[in-house]
Point group: C2
Chain length 511, copies 2
């Protein structure tokens, strides 16, 4: 009995006949082992010495040409593929592994997290269905997340790619549970009333995407004003809900944010929980940034309302530093959760024995059927460090943010632009020459300050010194320093301030 004739292995254009049946396995496992060892060595050096390198560097203009070739038709040896990676890819990361990266809101990752992704891909288990250990690991990790936010044992959850998806999962269950009719079956077109969702003006844009995706429309996302601390104004919330009801709309859900993206503000969670209970609304918490901050002792009180949520979105690839992607959706009522996502076609019938048995089919709780074993990197990371250390690392970042705010407040050329929320500091270079500018030049002044601060930011990034990001608060452009970074030290923040001032002075003197 023979199979198809063996095919020649074509390596870099040269034919090399081999006697074994062709597959996608390596021609030579020992060569592959040696390559793997090299990769481990290179990765260790890469992370160990990251501080010695620029936080970010622009790609050479001609680099883009290296990524224009057509779909490869013939094989390239794994070593040659790796050389190309080393030359063209490895030197140009985003930069979020660096101690002075504070852009947007991202974690650093860890070496054991990266090893875990390798082991997970080696097993290549699909955690959508089936009776195998990866499902047990994910179940344990989800239980840990429930424990973290003080959710009951009977709550359900699953790991997802990130908070965009976790918020979508929570809002889907909210929509389907609160609509008062079978949305899955009949859809929204026949709904008598427009369903409405409430969140502060500081809400993350992924929630808008979710509301749009769910067919409710951006108009149905009511953006409630915030107070001076960028927290949802409860009076305005109550007024909007009342007005909407009076206008024949159907309020279904309030999204509270635990750690806004602009300033790290925490909405008044317990007040929102009370309001939702009184009004019969779903209470969803977008905790992408700040839900895991329950591990910080000093925050336990202001975050205690999270436990009262009907659904929560968490991120593990941010302040928990698990490599991308890792988020988590939790829903307090597991039946409502499953009822929003479970389908049972004949090829997915659950069996009582064999491969198709098992308790945890996570595809019944989310959008995706095939799912990677991302639980492994979370499981290994939480075991490696333990919750106390994560808490200390977060507390240190919060302390660093306050330290940075102190440096800014003590400096006559710098201006703090918002109260420090969690680990996020917004400020700008605002030298005396602008401070004394007369009021009638307000517009010109703001425009010049934006240009100046943008140039400071570009220079910091292009020189590889530090990578803050930026936002606009009340029309004013700010540098934004989000310190979700286990590698940051206070000396990194000292350097940031001295460089902002050096660059700012140089630019101001030039004009």
């Amino acid at each position: 009995m023979t199979d198809l004739p063996d095919h020649p292995n074509i390596s870099n254009g040269k034919k090399a006949l081999v006697n074994r049946q062709e597959s996608l396995d390596p021609d030579n496992w020992e060569d592959m082992r040696a390559l793997g060892h090299r990769m481990v060595d290179d990765a260790i050096s890469y992370l160990k010495d990251v501080e010695q390198r620029p936080v970010w560097k622009p790609m050479p203009e001609q680099l883009a040409d290296q990524f224009k070739a057509a779909l490869p038709q013939y094989p390239t040896s794994p070593d040659a593929v790796y050389e190309e990676f080393l030359g063209n890819i490895f030197p140009y990361p985003m930069g979020n592994i660096h101690p002075r990266f504070w852009s947007w809101y991202m974690g650093n990752g860890t070496i054991l997290g990266a090893f875990a992704d390798f082991l997970s891909a080696t097993m290549n288990s699909n955690v959508g269905a089936g009776n195998h250990v990866a499902n047990l690991v994910e179940a344990q990790v989800v239980n840990w997340m429930k424990e973290l936010v003080d959710f009951p044992e009977e709550a359900s959850g699953l790991l997802v790619g990130g908070a965009s998806m976790a918020n979508l999962v929570g809002l889907t269950v909210a929509r389907n549970t609160q609509a008062g009719f079978d949305v899955r079956q009949v859809g929204l077109t026949s709904a008598g009333k427009q369903l409405t969702v409430y969140a502060s003006t500081e809400i993350h844009s992924c929630n808008q995407k979710a509301v749009e995706l769910l067919g409710m429309g951006t108009d149905s996302l009511r953006r409630i004003p915030v107070n001076d601390h960028y927290q949802m104004d409860m009076t305005a919330l109550a007024a909007q809900v009342k007005e909407d009801r009076a206008n024949g709309l159907q309020p279904i859900c309030v999204i509270a944010t635990s750690g806004t993206v602009n300033t790290g503000a925490i909405d008044p969670l317990n007040e929102i929980a009370d309001f939702c209970t009184a009004q019969g609304l779903w209470f969803h918490v977008d905790g992408a940034i700040g839900a895991v901050a329950v591990l910080v002792d000093s925050l336990k009180t202001s975050l205690s309302g999270i436990a009262r949520a009907d659904s929560i979105a968490l991120d593990l690839h941010k302040w928990m530093h698990v490599p991308f992607e890792a988020g988590c959706a939790l829903v307090k009522n597991s039946a409502e959760h499953r009822n929003s996502f479970s389908v049972n076609p004949e090829y997915l019938t659950r069996e009582v024995r064999g491969l198709a048995a098992g308790q945890n089919w996570f595809s019944e709780y989310g959008v995706e059927l095939s799912r990677s074993f991302r639980a492994l990197k979370v499981w290994m990371s939480l075991k490696e460090h333990g919750s106390d250390r994560y808490g200390r690392m977060m507390a240190r970042n919060i302390d660093q943010a306050n330290y940075l705010a102190g440096l800014i407040n003590d400096d006559s050329d710098l201006q703090l632009m918002a109260p420090v929320g969690l680990n996020i500091v917004c400020f700008r270079y605002y030298p005396v020459v602008y401070q004394v500018m007369a009021d009638q030049h307000q517009e010109k002044k703001e425009s010049a300050l934006e240009t100046l601060n943008k140039e400071i930011l570009f220079t910091l990034q292009e020189e590889g010194t530090a990578a803050p990001s930026y936002t606009t608060l009340e029309g004013k452009y700010c540098l934004r320093v989000a310190i979700a970074n286990h590698r940051t030290q206070r000396t990194d923040l000292d350097l940031l301030i001295s460089e902002v001032k050096r660059i700012g002075k140089k630019l101001t003197d030039q004009t």
Copy 2:
């Protein structure tokens, strides 16, 4: 200038004071390097010797207890975490890495794909936004996918977790583009007409999930009957669309399947394309299983209609054997694509220089903002093997499916249950004793055959011999062999048949 006081590192309960600032980096990089080398060695052995192990094995009952401990509070050494992994996790994979795994529809993965996931997690770049090389790599991979399905250069796309998400992306653009009003802004409640979507009864359940998520409701997913080859019946499609229009509904989209999950059938793609053009409908192709089969010469004609689609969902973690997760969504009109997903909050403003510049912000084309560098494993895998080899591996699987069907047809105790579509074979053990059973016992017979074949399947899996899955076709339970496996040889299929017969005979003799 000092930071917070150093914290003691607590390892396995013992305090060990260290002088450096605590972080999530290893205490000792050399120990971590040695651990990484061990992991590489173990992974190489694991995959090299996979054939020597059972395809799947049930977990010991007490294993579940190992995953019940609460959230760890204190650190465990990475070596100890790895030992736990080796003892409790590594031995119990799903099994899809094995040459005799043919359940559901999954790929095997490869060792270089797993290495790539490690490198990607080491860089930990976020491919949602920003000016860094990972975006260029993903753009190239998306271009390769466009090339594969003969999509024009100006089409857009992005990598996603799998076809569930890729179908959701395509159907979102279909809904938003075809509705005739601004669905993102106002939602579906104010729609005058119910939007309807068409697909065959064999459509994969993830499309139902997508339609439900999008707020259109399952009722709006019209399931069109299939012919004897499980392909969409075009006459029935035309009749349903006509009837729906007459009833005041608004048809927007036809979903064609290229490779159905039950039997691998390919819908009449060109006829559906013609119909969509004539009727002004969006043409979406769910090509999770069979779109990449364009690499097989003999299939180029029957798959040529894919190029005419408005949107396509592809999977790379199936027949392309990239480790989970890797799928791809393509949309022919990039403006329509971006218009469905782009949002521009102040903290995501695009800059012209620095880290926040760049052309390819993939978050503007999909649901998720934070996105892993999954493009790297696709990029390295396609370079390693080249498209020709993938084509040969797929052609071999198709040949093997036909070979298996031949073995079944030649055997008087076995019954082929559907025409072989692509690489999927549905059959059952159907010994003479049942064949001669009188017609009045039809129901009893079918029930007994289901019990018998289920027991055969359980035994095959529990003995670790092979892992087919199962489905029900026209009310009849079948074993289902989906050969998307680069490691399968014909001798594996010979073993499957001889074992099915041995187990079947033993069970029949007992009763």
